[in-house]
Symmetry: C2
Subunit: 278 residues, 2 copies
């Protein structure tokens, strides 16, 4: 199901401006969220982050329209994945940002029973570095090709997803999510300055850590330190909290780690409280 | 004027798949070229590079369709800027590359009298580094947001265009073109491995250097060395060869440099020979 110009559409083929800068120059951003029982999990956090990203790129966003789109899409599928996309809209040839942009907002909903939730992942590092020198590394922009290429590389190595190091040589994030490492009771994740997205589940996990007996720490560490972790996991809006079962071929028994089970229980309770069912 | 599905269209609003991966994930590439007198300057080189980029990304391209689009678009405006865009087409949600992609090719032509040709530029370095660890730094992909942001930063500094250094701390390229520096008779430009596009005018200039009394050298150098150059210029398909009149506020009398005038003469002669007029 698709949302465009204030209403739902069944077909993806819609009138679209071929000069749209989102299409021609990846000048835009998106957001992915989880629908359960017709409601958006962490919906307010998703809208707030979407608005913050749009503001950082200087793209005007009507937040009420984004909220309406999310609600309509979630209602249309009940359970599944939602996506909002905001582009800077059509414009003259060239890079220069139009003085009077006409942004385009559209959305899509993909039904699904949540088979990704809590599913485990094998990670493999990629030769492509995360470029923390650009603000685009901290926004879910449409410039996503490096993540596609890195994931393809990871899959040729037999892994499920790529793990990015950044220019400074520190672990930054996975291709589609934030990463965490457990060292005894320390729960460590790279700071946003490492070139990572302010993930909504990342924020949830950091906020819930103490209640789960963990000490949250935002810190950059090289890969060699990550390989010494007791457990590693990836967070994103569709997997919620995905235990890492291998990193560059080294096995991790993350799914059985008691702290990870406690964090997953906290997520399950939050989804149930917010959406009415898990 | 626009080209889509084998024919020209006057209006940019066309039926387009909202799941197109070029639009949603910048999974695609483009090419910009110069039309003079209804013909494409360096047309064969543009098509060859477009095909090489598509092959590197694993996106099937019907080269005859691309050639037909370029010819039709050039004929439609006589003089101006042409753009071809190839995306991996529609697909299921997520990063995974479809097993059976349905690529989408479209084009646009913008009439113009060539006011950009040989026009001078002020450059300013940007805090955003060129990420030479990704093959996408050497292909004209749709992931162009960093160039937009870098150019905006350069313009707030009073310059016309951004100059990128790469992760290794060497000068790489401008936001919309390759860069060259003259040191006496040495004509220096960064190698492709520095994270730069294989520009068609870059290749032309390297091939013409000896006939213009210059020794072409592909070499990476830090910014401090560039600031000692006798002259600096940018090459791209619409400006052809743009003398740099300032870099980070330091003036350069590049437009008056005899070697640059000789290279511009060579370009003028080549356009005239290939297109029938300049």
């Amino acid at each position: 199901m698709f949302w465009l110009d204030g209403s739902l559409h069944e077909k993806p083929l819609q009138p679209f401006d071929l000069t749209d800068r989102g299409l021609t120059l990846s000048d835009g951003l998106f957001d992915t969220s989880l629908a359960r029982n017709g409601k958006v999990f962490l919906g307010e956090a998703h809208l707030a982050r979407f608005a913050a990203g749009a503001a950082a790129l200087g793209i005007p966003l009507k937040i009420e329209a984004a909220a309406q789109a999310l609600d309509a899409l979630a209602g249309s599928i009940s359970d599944g994945a939602l996506r909002l996309t905001l582009t800077r809209g059509g414009g003259a040839r060239g890079l220069r940002i139009p003085d009077d942009p006409k942004p385009v907002l559209f959305g899509a909903a993909t039904p699904g029973r949540g088979e990704l939730i809590f599913s485990s992942l094998a990670l493999a590092t990629t030769a492509i570095r995360r470029n923390e020198t650009s603000v685009s590394s901290r926004i879910k922009t449409l410039s996503y090709l490096d993540a596609i290429l890195a994931n393809k590389e990871a899959q040729t190595k037999g892994a499920d997803e790529a793990l990015f190091e950044n220019m400074a040589g520190h672990v930054a994030c996975a291709a589609t999510g934030n990463v965490f490492a457990l060292f005894e009771s320390r729960l460590m994740t790279p700071p946003l300055s490492a070139g990572v997205l302010a993930g909504t589940v990342r924020a949830f996990v950091l906020a819930q850590a103490k209640a789960c007996g963990l000490e949250p720490v935002e810190q950059s560490l090289p890969l060699a330190e990550w390989l010494k972790a007791d457990a590693i996991f990836v967070t994103n809006s569709l997997r919620l909290l995905a235990p890492c079962n291998a990193l560059d071929g080294q096995p991790f028994a993350s799914a059985e780690h008691p702290a990870i089970i406690r964090l997953q229980d906290a997520l399950r309770a939050a989804v149930t409280a917010e959406c009415g069912s898990f």
